[in-house]
Structure formats: structure tokens, C-alpha cells
């Protein structure tokens, strides 16, 4: 046997084991990719909810969302159409994103737009909407969408 050519059972088994390891590693990448598609789906749903909030804010009377000072304020909506409450501390809401209940934050702040009323620093409202699409509420682009716009009163 020693001088015969060919492969031994051990060599075949080692080969199969190597292929199995490579297959499992590849499958992990597939799973990661599929998980990413799922997260992207939740992100799209969150984006629509954020857009929905901006539409609600665009449609509302501007006087009902004006803060009393130039600090950031948080808005919450009750009812339909929205009845707005303004608070000066972080006030999250819970909304349905797809099939999940997620966190939403709506902020409003006076800012200066030189093209609107020169010299007046509180002539424009900066509106921001954050909607999370993961259970992790880390405040970054991997966990929430953030849409911003300006509105003149």
C-alpha cells in the first residue's frame, strides 16, 4: 500500500470536513445578508412613518408648534388630526412600525434663516423626526431614521 497512488480515507474525511467548514461559513454570510434585508424593510417602514409625521406637522397650524424659547423642544401628538403638546425635555412616543412598536421623537426649535427675516434669529422652525427601526434605541443611523425640515411660521 505504501507505494500505491491515490487518497486515503483520512484524506477524504479531512477534505469533507474542510468543505463543511467552508459551507457553514458561507451560510453565516447568507444569514447576515438576509438579516440585513429584514432591517432594511423595517427601515423603509420607519421612513414612511417619519415622513407621515412631517406631513402632519406641515399641515398643522404653525402657532400650535412654536416653542417659547430657542432651545430644542419635543412635540407629542394626541388624536387625529394631531393636538400638539410641547415639552422642553426628551419625550418619546411609541408608534407602530410594520408590526413592531417603536420609539419616535419629534423636535422643534427656532432657528435663523437669513433669507426670511434678516436680523431676527427666531424666524424659522427647524423640525426633526426620529423613528427607530430596531429594539436598540442607540441614536445613530444604524438604528433609526432622522428626517429634518424647515418651516416658516
Amino acid at each position: 500500500m505504501g507505494d500505491q497512488k491515490g487518497v486515503t480515507l483520512i484524506e477524504v474525511l479531512v477534505g469533507i470536513a474542510l468543505i463543511a467548514v467552508i459551507c457553514i461559513t458561507t451560510l453565516n454570510y447568507f444569514s447576515y445578508g438576509v438579516g440585513g434585508i429584514g432591517r432594511q424593510g423595517n427601515r423603509r417602514a420607519a421612513l414612511e412613518r417619519a415622513r407621515q409625521r412631517l406631513e402632519e406637522l406641515a399641515a398643522t397650524n404653525a402657532t400650535s408648534i412654536q416653542p417659547s424659547d430657542t432651545n430644542p423642544h419635543w412635540l407629542t401628538c394626541a388624536g387625529s388630526p394631531c393636538s400638539w403638546t410641547i415639552r422642553n425635555s426628551v419625550t418619546p412616543e411609541t408608534i407602530q412600525v410594520g408590526t413592531l412598536n417603536q420609539r419616535m421623537e419629534t423636535t422643534v426649535q427656532w432657528v435663523d434663516d437669513p433669507s426670511v427675516t434678516p436680523g431676527i434669529t427666531t424666524d424659522t422652525l427647524a423640525i426633526g423626526v426620529k423613528v427607530w427601526f430596531t429594539s436598540d434605541t442607540t441614536d445613530d443611523e444604524y438604528h433609526r431614521v432622522y428626517l429634518r425640515t424647515l418651516r416658516t411660521p
Partner: protein
């Protein structure tokens, strides 16, 4: 010969074992693709509606639960969106003019993607309308999106 037979048997078992995860991965992959395409189709409908809603001064809703209409009144010509689970096998169309008019634009074709739910709810008369759209892609993947549309030129 015996070694070769054992190697073939072991290889066959290993291949069979590996087949199941690959089949599962294919199912996951197709699920993800359908989900993405269903949401993309729904988003395209929303963007189309939003672009006309911005220019409109008022809107009206009508139809039945399976065949809903959302019509916008514009200075440059009215536009109607019609769709639902019973409308042309789940289509959603845009008519330039009155609902049911000639030469519509098909937004959801009812074949590749189908509308399984199209709900239009007035939030504020002639100013803000809520739209919920559920799309089924390749008869398997349901995705629901909802948004509000603001009529900037509302009277």
C-alpha cells in the same frame, strides 16, 4: 475499493446534510427579495400620490373596501388613484382625469405585485389624508406601509 465506497457514502451524507441549509437560505433570500420589492412598489405609489397631492386643492375618496378611489383636484387637471384587492385582480392605477378614464398608468400590476389592502382615511378635510397600502409580492410576501399626504394648496 472499500475506502472509496465509505468515502462516497460519507460524501453523500454530507451533501444531503448541506442541501437542507442551502434550501432554507434560498427561501430566506426569496423572502427578503419579495419584501424589498413589495415595499419598493408601495413607496413608488406613495411618491406618486404625494407629488400630485402637493399641487392639489382638495381630495375626495370613494369606492368600496376592495376598490377604493382617491381623487385630487388640481388646477392643471384632476388625478384619480384607484386600486384594491378586487380592482382588476389587485391593481392600482392612476387616471389623468376622472376615475375610470382612458389610458391609465398602472402602478401596481396585479400580477407581480397585488394590492391586498388600500385604505384612505381623511385626517383633515381637503388638507391631510392618511393612506395605508398593503402589497403582496408574488402571492407570498405581505408588506404594509402607511403615510399621510399634505395638500399644500388646500383651500
Amino acid at each position: 475499493m472499500l475506502e472509496l465506497l465509505i468515502a462516497i457514502i460519507i460524501s453523500s451524507i454530507a451533501l444531503l446534510a448541506a442541501t437542507m441549509p442551502f434550501i432554507a437560505e434560498r427561501v430566506f433570500w426569496n423572502t427578503g427579495r419579495r419584501q424589498t420589492e413589495a415595499q419598493r412598489d408601495a413607496q413608488m405609489v406613495f411618491r406618486s400620490m404625494a407629488s400630485f397631492a402637493r399641487e392639489s386643492s382638495s381630495f375626495t375618496t370613494g369606492g368600496s373596501s376592495g376598490d377604493v378611489t382617491l381623487a385630487f383636484t388640481r388646477a392643471s387637471g384632476n388625478v384619480c388613484f384607484e386600486g384594491g384587492s378586487t380592482f382588476n385582480s389587485g391593481q392600482l392605477r392612476r387616471f389623468d382625469g376622472a376615475c375610470g378614464g382612458p389610458a391609465p398608468t398602472i402602478l401596481i400590476d396585479g400580477v407581480r405585485s397585488k394590492v391586498t389592502q388600500f385604505v384612505v382615511t381623511q385626517v383633515t378635510a381637503n388638507k391631510l389624508v392618511n393612506v395605508q397600502l398593503q402589497i403582496t409580492h408574488e402571492n407570498r410576501q405581505n408588506e404594509t406601509l402607511q403615510t399621510d399626504l399634505f395638500l399644500r394648496n388646500a383651500t
